[in-house]
Symmetry: C2
Subunit: 253 residues, 2 copies
């Protein structure tokens, strides 16, 4: 027996395929729309994190009882799926033009911007890759960056995955210190002041010639603050170099 398609799919595409059922709308009018529910959930998750987004708090924000939310969304998982596609849609993607390097930079910057605006996206990265309309649009836009340069289809996919994945990792590193600061109540600097002594003491029992030197250098560099732009990001430049080298090798073959 084949399984039925997941209802959340229709819900994801509700704007492009608007409820084919011409069924009569009986019963009380819904007080809010699905979009309002998802928007409120996004605002909550943006402010307090995914963990703080509970069905009860969401219902309260919407001015209704806890269980009423389930009239719009089947469960919390579906809600999060809808949230992901919703925030993917609110970004205005710049036209995909320029040379390969600047095009791929656009991909990375869009990804980074999304993850910075909605850090909870990083906690959801492990869900089923639900193809909502905005996710599909985004994927199409990303692929346009590597179209017509000689890459195979699979390579195109891997290339944008590589670049977007790197940007996500940058956002992940940034976000990690934010949540650590919020959960511990200590600034990174305060934490260091409180723990550096103890840490130095225990680490003195072993030899860390490289880690000691490099770790502190990296720490100081980080202390200087992250470049809000993705420019001059070391890793991205290496990745772009590597991709360019590969594309050039295709051309000369």
């Amino acid at each position: 027996m084949p399984t039925d398609p997941d209802p959340v799919l229709r819900l994801l595409w509700r704007h492009v395929v608007p409820a084919s059922d011409a069924a009569p709308r009986r019963g009380p009018r819904p007080k809010v729309s699905v979009d309002e529910v998802v928007d409120a959930a996004v605002e909550l998750a943006d402010a307090e994190g995914l963990a703080a987004l509970s069905m009860r708090s969401l219902a309260q924000r919407l001015g209704m009882g806890a269980m009423s939310v389930y009239g719009y969304v089947a469960n919390r998982n579906d809600l999060i799926v809808l949230m992901v596609d919703q925030v993917l849609g609110e970004a205005t993607l710049p036209p995909m033009k320029g040379d390969l390097r600047t095009r791929l930079r656009l991909v990375a910057e869009a990804q980074l911007a999304d993850c910075r605006a909605h850090p909870w996206l990083l906690d959801v990265a492990g869900l089923r890759p639900w193809l909502g309309p905005n996710a599909a649009d985004r994927y199409e836009w990303q692929l346009a960056a590597v179209d017509g340069i000689g890459l195979s289809d699979v390579e195109m996919d891997q290339t944008v995955t590589l670049v977007a994945g790197f940007a996500a990792n940058v956002a992940r590193a940034e976000h990690a210190v934010r949540v650590a600061e919020r959960e511990s109540g200590l600034t990174d600097l305060e934490w260091w002041e409180a723990n550096s002594g103890e840490l130095g003491e225990v680490m003195a029992h072993r030899d860390y010639p490289l880690a000691g030197r490099v770790g502190s250098a990296a720490g100081e560099a980080y202390q200087a603050g992250t470049d809000p732009q993705l420019e001059r990001e070391f890793g991205l430049e290496r990745i772009l170099d590597g991709i360019e080298v590969y594309v050039a090798s295709l051309r000369s073959r």
Copy 2:
């Protein structure tokens, strides 16, 4: 007023700095050791995922009451911190030799192996970068891969971060389908059979020239199964190319 150092730090380094206090050990002997507690927690998380690791289930596995676990670990967060360092220690790191490319491949493969053996590591990536002894050893080992080739300290850090981050992303993608299959009870193939019709229908309302073609090609390639080795991984090769290009540019300057 300066804050006190976090107690979990001493606990992390318990093996290299073994309880400096010569204080008398009064009271009943602990039934298990901290290592046994952490090992049991790792086994639970490996089998069922981080979410399924509860203090109660852990206590039951250890044959004690729920609250007894708190005699070994202050709270669930500390437990997870200890788990991370524990699994980082059980990997036997190969000697860091060979040319740059093979050295960096070792870094990526070690990271991938860890994330595959303990997928819950990917859910913890956002915590405070607690420096346990095994994390420090790992960092030192990673840095040895890029030592003495002309990179600055910060560049050394960024390079290993780039490579390890990519490997983590590979593991993340693999893990995503595993949890999706477990949570939905549907194989990726079953899911596709159930939803492809509906998905094609809704996607037909828009034009996805690239996403349609590339997505299905990537899907088929994935269907073929992931290479258990990291060799022939497209993204990693591009990254290594890019790093080599950069190192070569340093030499000629």
